[in-house]
């Protein structure tokens, strides 16, 4: 499977969206694959390189090594699809924490609006990279704080205990 996908990687293909909202990949043979998914291989450490396009069964159809190297239309479609798929709210402020002991409820302002969620354990707040933090709520949804130093004092105080 690996060999095959690597062989696919550099072949030309085109991407478009059909009326059903599905992403369709037409490969170099003119064969259309409906409902393909776009996945970043390194979503955090290197988001703009190694973007894989897989079919409904999860087999790789194409691997875009660098989004800079594909035509503008494909790049736009890929980026739109990624925006549609990826759900990683960035926490901008921590408005309140219900207690110092887990499980506790956090009230946060994110780039996707205000939200409340429950942290079920101390270990669900991690240091992430040099200055960031990753928070995982009781339902498994992840929230990113790209740079803890950018938060206001009150938010930082809530986080302090975890980092």
């Amino acid at each position: 499977m690996t060999d095959k996908s690597l062989a696919h990687a550099n072949l030309p293909f085109s991407l478009h969206r059909d009326p059903f909202g599905r992403l369709v990949l037409v490969d170099h043979d003119g064969h259309a694959h409906e409902g393909v998914t776009v996945i970043r291989a390194f979503p955090i450490s290197d988001p703009h390189r190694m973007v894989s396009i897989v079919d409904t069964a999860g087999h790789e159809l194409a691997l875009v090594e660098d989004l800079e190297n594909v035509d503008a239309d494909t790049r736009l479609t890929v980026l739109q699809e990624l925006a549609r798929r990826e759900f990683l709210p960035h926490i901008q402020r921590i408005l309140g924490v219900s207690g110092r002991i887990e499980p506790c409820e956090w009230r946060v302002a994110t780039d996707r609006g205000e939200h409340r969620f429950v942290i079920s354990a101390y270990e669900d707040v991690h240091r992430f990279g040099q200055h960031g933090a990753l928070v995982i709520d009781g339902e498994g949804t992840r929230y990113l704080i790209p740079d803890v130093r950018q938060l206001d004092r009150a938010s930082r105080r809530h986080l302090e205990r975890y980092l």
């Binding site: 009326p19 059903f20 909202g21 998914t37 549609r84 798929r85 990826e86 759900f87 990683l88 709210p89 219900s98 207690g99 110092r100 002991i101 887990e102 499980p103 506790c104 409820e105 994110t110 996707r112 609006g113 205000e114 939200h115 429950v118 354990a121 101390y122 270990e123 995982i136 709520d137 339902e139 498994g140 949804t141 992840r142 302090e160 205990r161 975890y162 980092l163």
Partner: protein, 783 residues
Amino acid sequence: MTPSASDPAASAGSLPQSWRPPVESLLEPGEAVLAWFQTDLDADLRFRQSVVVLTDRRLLGTDPGGVEDRKPDRSIARHDGAVTRTEQWYAWRIAADQRLLLSDQTGAGTLELMGPERRLAFWRFTSARSSSGGAIVRKFESLRQRDPEAIVAPVGGGVCPNCGRRLAADETECPSCAPAAAPPAAKSLLALIPFARPRSGMILLGLGLTMASTAVSLLPPLLTIPLLNNVLIPHHAGQPLDYRLVAWYLAGMAGANLLAWLLAWARTYVLAHVSEQVAADLRNRTYTHLQRLSLEFFGGRRTGDLISRVGSDSDRLCNFLSVSLVDFIADVFMFIMTSIVLLSIDPVLAIVVLLPLPLIAWLIQNVRFRLRHGFSQGYAAWGEMISVLADTIPGVRVVKAFAQEQREIDRFRTRNEHVRVVNNRVNRVWSFFEPTITLFTELGLLVVWLCGAWRIGHDSISVGVLVAFVAYISRFYGRLQSMSRMVVSTQRAAASAHRIFEILDRVPSVPEPARPVTPGRLRGEIELCDIWFRYGTRTVIKGIDLKVQPGEMIGLVGPSGSGKSTLINLVCRFYDVAQGAILADGVDIRSFPVSEFRQNIGIVLQDPFLFFGTIAENIAYGRPDASREEIVAAARAAHAHEFILKLSDGYDSLVGERGQSLSGGERQRISIARALLIDPRILILDEATSSVDTETEWLIQQALENLIRGRTTIAIAHRLSTLRRADRLVVMENGQVSEIGSHDELLAKSGTYTRLYRAQLQSAAEEDVAPAVPEVAKVAVVD
């Protein structure tokens, strides 16, 4: 039509409160709500509540995506708590050529309504909601196919319209879909009070003794006043020394000291005794609670961390209660009483002594915050350093195999350096703090001498009073110093209390039912009704339906990661399904008390765990009251009897950690005997033969034959030969059942099973291990 279908208002009653008025206002006469699904994101993935409601003729929904080409049907304001928002409602008549699709991507899922030519609408939601979307999709599917069953509204029919859970007769709201109660507020050291309450008598006695011993210890300095004023100073002035009076005063001082010593002894013993009991209660409660928590909790924890919480943290608390707290209380008494004594002897001098107090209090308060912050940082740094150890010591073989010792040493060194730096910061504060208090003490003493000398010069007080004051003041400030040390130990104890209450406050995720049904001895019928389950955001079981007859043996087959083990964990109720229900003898297993249900289940795992103890104890683990005859009978049926007799102490041989080592096959047969002894109605075999060689497998097979007979059995096996007795084979792929049937039926289908079977035949032939191949081949001939 059910009665509810004729009464729209009643059928909307299953909806969450705030959605009822808008939905009721939209329903046509006679229209009934069949299912609903609440989403929590809008089309641009911003947080926003929406709802999709399926009725017997229409799909209604608020604020969907993909509807740019049409106007909303209605716009209705909704009140949710204090918030009022206006929602755009859209409605679609259900047609046979429509489809409702639910897909779950990492992080956010989509519910799509597809028309014949294009997508009509979509809704987005977080993974928190995804597992409850199955019901509306299934209802929609049967409705558009005009399946008569679909017309039956689930409302009042005992099934939650949101998640598909069977409801108890008197439950109107599904307990798992009801909004979760807010998590409890943080607890501190005050949370220990309930643990202290049963011992309040002893605690009061301890406090009484504290007060008495403190009061008595204040007597000796008081006696120095008359000793100086009546005896020593007059002698200095030329009068003869009154030896009788001297003897009296000294005897008084000695007596007071002796009494204070006795009382302090009693006090320390009583309070230490109480706090030891409180700590023991706390340990018991923590461990009891720990055992009640489900596997989910243990899955996310490090063993070492849990052990240290039950062990060291409760010990640290005990130390705090028995030493620091007792000292602190004694200090406070001493402080108050000394102040009273000083004030009664000479108010002016007393006020001079008490003058630096506010300054010291301010200093303590100031330092307290820095210390707390420093300590918590220190603990975190320490934890990170320990986690390097926890990572690399068990994985030391990998480290050495890849020659990465130096990298791990560097990693540890970095963390260790971090610990040093953080602790150093605390030490800087701390090292400044103690000498500063000492300085204040000395300065206070200086001021007392100064003021005292001045007042003696004016004949306001006697020399005796001044000497008594100096004697008191060193105690006074000494207490202050130890009280400030209390600040540190309180912060440490609070951190420990936090770690213990973190366990105690955890609600088991496999909850005991509010109205339990006693399962008694089950017949062993198992029914899985559209069950869903996910770990985090990954859905691993996607809508499985399966009915197992009493006494039937089911073999679960499928590639690894297909959800076989998860399915078994759900049947055992190690986890609860996210949606749907598992019924045993027609009753939702969530209505049984967990332990009574599990008494009906026997489990044989891939790598059986033996506890430290004798073989007999290990076999009787599930039924400690079993007689020796029963144990031997079980061992015999499990083909374990003979090898047990070969051990030096027979059934009394010690096994488990520190005990005699047994081979994989031997341990497996002991665990089969263990399962046989409890005589379960439902038997779970999870890869029971995969870790042993083929010859041992044959022995285990023989043992299993006896175990399976007459019991409902669900078995997972990679080696298909293990499943040759199975009545039906269930092939799982990707969290779903792909094929069901007997060995022959599945071979005839030439699907996944055929592929797995061929692959095994081939690898067995290549291995050239004879027994496994004929086993499998025989099945083909016999069946």
